[in-house]
C-alpha cells in the first residue's frame, strides 16, 4: 500500500509539473514518442539503460529552447517476451498521438512486433536487437535499425581473430535467438576465414553450471572459447574456465560488452577478454563524450549499458525527424527512409532499402586493467600485452 501511495503522489506531482511546464513554456504543441525495452527479467539492466538513454534524448530536446514541440516519452516494458511485446506494441502503435518509436532489444520480440508497426504505419528504429531478420526478413518501410546486425559483428570478429593467429575454437552459445544467431554467423565466417570449430555447445539462458561443457572443451584444447550470449552467462563461463584450468583465449560478443561483465568476473580474470560492438566507440566521437557527460549529469541510478548510446541516437534521430517534417507518421517514415550520412553519437547513420544502418562500423574491444579499451588503443596492439596463448 505504501508503494501505491507513493506512486499516486508522484503521478499527481507529474501531472502538476506538466501543467506548470506547459504554462511556462508558452504552450508548444505536445508530441508523444515511445520507447520499448525489457525492463523486468534477466536482461532488464540493458532495457532500463536504454530507456534512460532515450529519456535523456527527450529531456535534452525539451530543454532546448529552439525545439518546436514539447515531447513526452511513453515507455513500455516488453519483459523480453513476444506476447507481451506484441501487446505493448499494439498499445503504442494504436495510439495515434505517438509519432515515432525506439524499440526492442530482444530480437524475438522485435520479430513479433514489426508486423504491427507496419500495419499501423508507425515509424520506428530498433536500438539493440541484432537479429538480421528484423530488418531483412520484411519490406516494411517503417522499420529501421541504427545498430548493426550480428552479421557485421561476426564477420569482423572472425576475420580479426584468425588474423591474430588463432586456429581452433570451441563455441558455447545460449539457446535464445541471440545466442543461436551468433553461433550461426560466427561459424559461417570463421570457416570462410579458415578457422576450425572443434565443438559447439548450446546452453540454456539460465544455466549456472558449465563445468560439464567446459571439461569437454578442455579436452579438445582449443585456442579460443567463443561465447555467444549475454553478460550473466558470460561471467559464469569465464569464471568457471578458471576453475577447470582452461587457459584458452575468451572471446565474447556485443552481449558481454558491459561494465557489469568486468565487475562480475573481477579485473584479473577479465583481462584480455575480447568483444565486438557495432558503432564507433562512443567516447571517440564528440557527440559521444557529450552523451556520457549528460547521462551522468542526469543522475540516473542505472548505467546506460552497451546499447544506451544506440537508444539515445535512435531517439535523437526520431526527434530530429519530427522537428523537420512535423508530427506525422507517414512523413516521418519518409524522412527516415532518406537518411544518409546522418551524424549521430554512434557514428554515421545511413539506412539501406530495408532500413538497416549500413555504416554500422564494428569496434573491437579488449579488457585491459578492468576497463573495456578499444583494441587499437590498447597495449595489446603493439605486443606490450598479449592475448592468451600468444
Amino acid at each position: 500500500m505504501k508503494i501505491l501511495g507513493k506512486s499516486t503522489v508522484s503521478a499527481i506531482a507529474m501531472v502538476m509539473t506538466l501543467t506548470v511546464g506547459v504554462g511556462v513554456a508558452d504552450a508548444k504543441d505536445k508530441v508523444k514518442v515511445a520507447f520499448i525495452g525489457p525492463m523486468t527479467g534477466g536482461v532488464s539492466a540493458v532495457g532500463v539503460g536504454g530507456r534512460n538513454s532515450a529519456e535523456l534524448a527527450v529531456q535534452l530536446r525539451n530543454a532546448d529552447p529552439e525545439a518546436k514541440y514539447e515531447y513526452e516519452l511513453v515507455s513500455m516494458d516488453s519483459e523480453c517476451k513476444p506476447n507481451v511485446g506484441v501487446q505493448v506494441a499494439t498499445k503504442i502503435a494504436a495510439d495515434s498521438k505517438i509519432i515515432g518509436l525506439v524499440g526492442h532489444y530482444c530480437s524475438a520480440v522485435a520479430m513479433g512486433a514489426v508486423d504491427i508497426y507496419h500495419r499501423f504505419n508507425l515509424p520506428m528504429s530498433v536500438w539493440g536487437a541484432v537479429l538480421p531478420d528484423v530488418t531483412y526478413a520484411n519490406d516494411y518501410k517503417e522499420i529501421h535499425r541504427v545498430n548493426g546486425t550480428m552479421i557485421n559483428q561476426n564477420e569482423v570478429a572472425a576475420k580479426f581473430m584468425t588474423e591474430q593467429g588463432y586456429k581452433t575454437w570451441v563455441v558455447i552459445h545460449d539457446t535464445t535467438d541471440y545466442g543461436k544467431g551468433h553461433d550461426k554467423y560466427f561459424t559461417e565466417y570463421l570457416t570462410q576465414n579458415g578457422g576450425e570449430i572443434l565443438a559447439d555447445f548450446g546452453v540454456s539462458s539460465d544455466q549456472q553450471d558449465f563445468t560439464a561443457e567446459l571439461t569437454k572443451a578442455k579436452q579438445l584444447n582449443p585456442d579460443v572459447i567463443y561465447f555467444g550470449g549475454l553478460t550473466p552467462l558470460g561471467v559464469r563461463i569465464r569464471a568457471q574456465m578458471e576453475k577447470l584450468g582452461i587457459t584458452s583465449q575468451f572471446q565474447g560478443v556485443s552481449g558481454i560488452k558491459s561494465d557489469s561483465f568486468i565487475e562480475g568476473v573481477g579485473p584479473e580474470l577479465s583481462e584480455g577478454v575480447v568483444s565486438f560492438l557495432e558503432g564507433a566507440p562512443v567516447d571517440k566521437l564528440p557527440g559521444g563524450q557529450y552523451f556520457t557527460e549528460k547521462y551522468q549529469a542526469a543522475g540516473f541510478a542505472e548505467s546506460e549499458e552497451a546499447y544506451g548510446p544506440f537508444a539515445f541516437a535512435a531517439m535523437t534521430l526520431i526527434l530530429d525527424g519530427i522537428e523537420e517534417v512535423g508530427p506525422n507518421r507517414k512523413k516521418l517514415t519518409e524522412y527516415l527512409g532518406n537518411i544518409q550520412g546522418y551524424d549521430s553519437i554512434v557514428g554515421e547513420v545511413s539506412f539501406d532499402d530495408h532500413g538497416q544502418n549500413t555504416v554500422a562500423a564494428i569496434t573491437k574491444y579488449v579488457i585491459q586493467d578492468g576497463k573495456w579499451v578499444v583494441w587499437e588503443d590498447s597495449e595489446y596492439v603493439d605486443g606490450t600485452r598479449k592475448l592468451a596463448g600468444k
Binding site: 499516486t8 499494439t90 498499445k91 520479430m111
Partner: protein
C-alpha cells in the same frame, strides 16, 4: 414491486454500472485516474460488503442466472463496440477472454478434480504451435482451433501415467518438469522456429479474413481485433456452458468426490483414474483451443511465451478467482491481465507488486474473490 421485478432491476443496474466501469477503466490512461478508479471500486466493494449488500446482490444473481449470463454477454459486447476502432482495448478484451478459456481448463483440472497442473502455459503453447504449423496448410482455420485443443490433450496424455500415480507435490513436480522441458525443447529444436519463434497466419472463416478491419462507412472502420473479440467471446460462452453443465451433473459430483477424498470415492464405486483422465484431458483441450486462437490473433509466437512464470499466471488466476468458481475465473482473468497493463507507470516494479498482492490475497482471502458456492444442479430448484 414484486421480488422478480426487483431482482431484474438490480441486475440491470449492476450491469450498467459494470459496463460503465469497464469502459472508463479501459479508456483512461492517466495513472492517477486509474488509481482513483481502482480505489473507488475497492471502496464500493467494501462498503457494500459492510452494509450486507453483497448478500442481497448474490441472492438476486443466483435467482436470475439466465438474465445474469445475458447481461454479462451484452455488457462485454457493449464495451467491445464502444472501442470499435481502438485496437488496444479490443486486444486486451480478447486476451482476457482467451485467458478465461485457458484458466477454465485449469479450473476443471484442479478446481474440480484436484489434479495439479503447473504446465498450463505449455498446453496453451501447444495450441499456439499447432495453429502456427497448421496455418500454413489448407486445414480450415476454425478447425485449427479444435485441432489445437486435441493436440494439447494428446500431448498431455504422455503425462497421464505419472499424474494418475502421484498426488499433491509429486504431481506438481511432474507438471513443472514438463513445462520446463517443453520450453527448452522448443528453444533447442529449430524445427518449430527455435528461439526466434514462428509467425502465425490470422483467422480466416470461409474467406472472411480476421486480420483486416471492417469498413462500415468511410468514417467508421472497425478494428480487426473486433473479429477476435467476438470469436473469443463465443469460445468463452461455449466453455462456460460446458463447465457449468459438467459442474451441475453427476460428472461434477464425481470430480468433487475425487478431489475431496479419493479413498471414500473409491469405496463408492467412483473410478478415480477415469475421472482424472477426463478432467485432465478436457482441461488441456480447453487450454489448447485458447492457445490456438491467441496465436492467430497475435500473429507471432516464441518459446519464451510459455515459461514457468506464465503457467503460474494461469494458476494464480484460478486461485485468485476461487477454486472451481467460474465467475471468479472470469473476474480474476480480467484483473490479472488488465491490471499490470494499466499500471505501466510502475513498470519495473510490476512483478514485485503483483507478487505482494497475490501473497496478501492468499493470506487474507484464501478462498478467492468469488468463492464457488454449493452445487445447484438445476438453477433455482430446491426439491
Amino acid at each position: 414491486m414484486t421480488q422478480s421485478l426487483k431482482d431484474k432491476l438490480v441486475i440491470l443496474s449492476l450491469a450498467v454500472l459494470a459496463t460503465a466501469f469497464m469502459i472508463t477503466f479501459l479508456a483512461i490512461e492517466e495513472q492517477a485516474e486509474i488509481f482513483a478508479l481502482l480505489v473507488l471500486a475497492a471502496v464500493l466493494v467494501f462498503a457494500s460488503a459492510k452494509f450486507g449488500l453483497i448478500e442481497t446482490i448474490s441472492g438476486c444473481l443466483s435467482r436470475n442466472e439466465r438474465l445474469l449470463n445475458g447481461a454479462v454477454v451484452a455488457a462485454t459486447l457493449i464495451v467491445a463496440f464502444w472501442f470499435y476502432e481502438d485496437h488496444f482495448p479490443l486486444l486486451m478484451i480478447a486476451t482476457v477472454l482467451l485467458y478465461t478459456v485457458a484458466s477454465c481448463g485449469l479450473n476443471m483440472q484442479f478446481g474440480y478434480t484436484g489434479v495439479v497442473n503447473f504446465a498450463g502455459a505449455a498446453f496453451f503453447g501447444i495450441g499456439c504451435y499447432t495453429a502456427a504449423v497448421l496455418g500454413e496448410t489448407s486445414v480450415p482455420m476454425l478447425m485449427v482451433i479444435i485441432v489445437g485443443g486435441l493436440v494439447a490433450a494428446l500431448v498431455g496424455s504422455i503425462l497421464i501415467i505419472p499424474v494418475l500415480r502421484t498426488r499433491g507435490h509429486y504431481a506438481a513436480v511432474v507438471t513443472i518438469a514438463f513445462g520446463l522441458l517443453f520450453r527448452t525443447f522448443l528453444e533447442v529444436n529449430d524445427a518449430l522456429g527455435g528461439p526466434q519463434g514462428l509467425g502465425v497466419s490470422g483467422m480466416n472463416i470461409f474467406g472472411w479474413d480476421f486480420n483486416s478491419g471492417i469498413t462500415l462507412t468511410d468514417d467508421i472502420e472497425v478494428s480487426f481485433y473486433m473479429n477476435y473479440v467476438i470469436l473469443a467471446l463465443i469460445m468463452v460462452m461455449l466453455t462456460f456452458v460446458l463447465m457449468r453443465r459438467i459442474e451441475r451433473s453427476w460428472i461434477g459430483l464425481n470430480f468433487d468426490a475425487v478431489r475431496l477424498d479419493e479413498t471414500a470415492a473409491a469405496c463408492y464405486g467412483i473410478d478415480i483414474k477415469h475421472w482424472k483422465i477426463l478432467s485432465f484431458t478436457l482441461g488441456n483441450f480447453l487450454a489448447g483451443t485458447a492457445g490456438a486462437l491467441y496465436a492467430m490473433m497475435l500473429g507471432f509466437i516464441a518459446p519464451s511465451n510459455f515459461a514457468f512464470s506464465d503457467s503460474l499466471i494461469l494458476v494464480s488466476i484460478v486461485l485468485l478467482g476461487g477454486m472451481g468458481s467460474l465467475w471468479g475465473t472470469i473476474l480474476a482473468a480480467g484483473l490479472v491481465v488488465l491490471l499490470p497493463e494499466k499500471l505501466q507507470a510502475i513498470q519495473e516494479y510490476r512483478f514485485l507488486i503483483y507478487a505482494v498482492v497475490m501473497i496478501l490475497i492468499l493470506l487474507f482471502r484464501p478462498q478467492g474473490v468469488l468463492p464457488r458456492g454449493l452445487r445447484a444442479y438445476i438453477p433455482g430448484w430446491r426439491g
